[in-house]
């Protein structure tokens, strides 16, 4: 039996935020205050010393209260935030489904935004050309694809964002409280799409407030508490422990 290399390795990751007591955001104040030595920070660790690894096909549910550091951890893994300490190693393409369509330009049409957002996600032009029809069809925008995005409803934007982000087959899929896109019909379709990615063996990092949803989707889980990794393991024992924490 050969051990597969982990798809994701998170090693001793810590993330520090400086919460300045008063925000100094202009040059004038900064110069005056630093001359007087008045600039001070409250150091705050949103993540401390978190380590774990996932193999291909693992689906990890991340549990924890509000402010426990779940979104911060996902952003560090996605490369949006740089960890203060520690390292993250990933193999393969990561698709973060966080606030879909955040990279859209309002003055651009849907069609133009497919190319823009696609390039933001690191797709090549040839790839987008190939997948263009598939994206338009999945988003169900029809003729609206040639209308500037500023005339779209939020549901339409989310549909287009979802269609662009999921047109690749990623190795790692990041879902932060997003399994509620668009209307009921589109939600079914997007859940089916995500399910088909699961079937292809994608590795998933999943944050949801619904423990039921986590149990349905995930095979592993972790509990974060004030930035510390309390426990990590198979879904059954961890979700039991989390329920006890909630009841206590």
């Amino acid at each position: 039996m050969t051990m597969a290399k982990p798809v994701l390795e998170v090693e001793n990751v810590s993330m520090q935020f400086n919460l300045s007591k008063e925000k100094v955001d202009n040059l004038k104040e900064y110069i005056i205050k630093s001359l007087r030595g008045q600039i001070s920070y409250n150091e705050f660790w949103a993540l401390s010393d978190v380590s774990f690894s996932l193999n291909k096909g693992d689906r990890l549910g991340i549990l924890g209260m509000n402010g426990a550091g779940k979104s911060t951890l996902l952003k560090v893994i996605a490369g949006v935030l740089k960890a203060t300490k520690g390292s993250v190693k990933t193999r393969g393409k990561i698709v973060p489904l966080l606030e879909l369509g955040a990279g859209f330009d309002k003055q651009y049409t849907g069609a133009e935004n497919i190319y823009l957002y696609g390039s933001v996600l690191g797709y090549s032009k040839t790839f987008i050309n190939e997948k263009y029809d598939e994206i338009v069809e999945f988003s169900e925008l029809g003729d609206f694809i040639n209308v500037p995005i500023k005339n779209y409803s939020s549901g339409m934007k989310a549909r287009l964002g979802f269609a662009i982000a999921t047109v690749v087959d990623p190795e790692i899929l990041i879902l932060d409280e997003v399994l509620a896109v668009g209307d009921a019909k589109f939600r079914k379709k997007s859940e089916a799409k995500i399910q088909s990615m699961f079937d292809k063996g994608v590795t998933v990092l999943f944050v949801s407030h619904s423990l039921k949803q986590v149990k349905r989707i995930c095979n592993k889980a972790m509990i974060l508490d004030h930035g510390k990794l309390l426990s990590f393991g198979d879904i059954e024992p961890i979700s039991k422990q989390y329920r006890q924490m909630l009841d206590a």
Binding site: F17, N18, D25, N26, L27, K28, Y30, A78, G79, V80, L81, K82, P96, L98, E99, A102, G103, D105, Q107, Y108, E112, Y115, L116, S119, V120, L121, G122, Y123, S124, K125
Partner: protein, 261 residues
Amino acid sequence: MSVFIKNFMRYRFLLVELIKKGVKLKYRRSYLGIIWTLLEPLLTTIVLTVIFGSLLNRGDSTAYPVYILSGRLLYSFFSSGTNTSMKSIRTNAGMIKKVYVPKYMYPLSSVIYNYVIFLISLLVLAAVSVFLGVFPTWRIFIIVIPLFILLILTVGVGMILSTMAVFFRDLEYLWSVALMLIMYSSAIFYYVEDITRNSPNKEILFHANPLYCCIAVFRDALFGQPIEWGLCLYAAGFSVISLIVGVVLFYKKQDKFILYI
């Protein structure tokens, strides 16, 4: 280094898309679109020629409008290039907070798309020059040197400003004041000789300004005059240093951007 190149190649299409977006939206925003960007420098040149031509007794020279237009086009590229790249991190905060992209793409693409618009507007300059009888000599080929130096200078200054603007919100106002000083010491609508004739020691005010040096060398090449290589060398040195400072500063601070935008 090889990691950097690999990452650049992976995201080069993003750079192209961002440049395209800047140019497209610039032309889409106004009804007259491309016509307006060609017409606007022409109109201001006419106004400036009429006003300053009579004030400075230069109105009789047919080269004077070409002199003004060339200075104005180079200055307005520097001004819009540095301004858009200064604001680029904040403008794209929405994207930066949600997906990983190499962040230097934003200031870099801002400068390049302004450069593309600037190169298009040079067509007006060519037309006006020929119309007024300023014909190119072999020296016209030298024009690519100040054009290239100007690009490097604007990227360098733009990187420095884009980094600082993340942390200091008042930088935009400070820079608009600085730009005004730069404009007045760039000799756009007057001749440096007219000023230094009576006080030769004032020459340093102009020669210290790398933008003036670019403009001066550009005009030398345009009018077929001997090139002031000293100014050219100074501008080149200044641009390379500002580029190095800009890149180093940006790389040192970029991981902190997200905490401030």
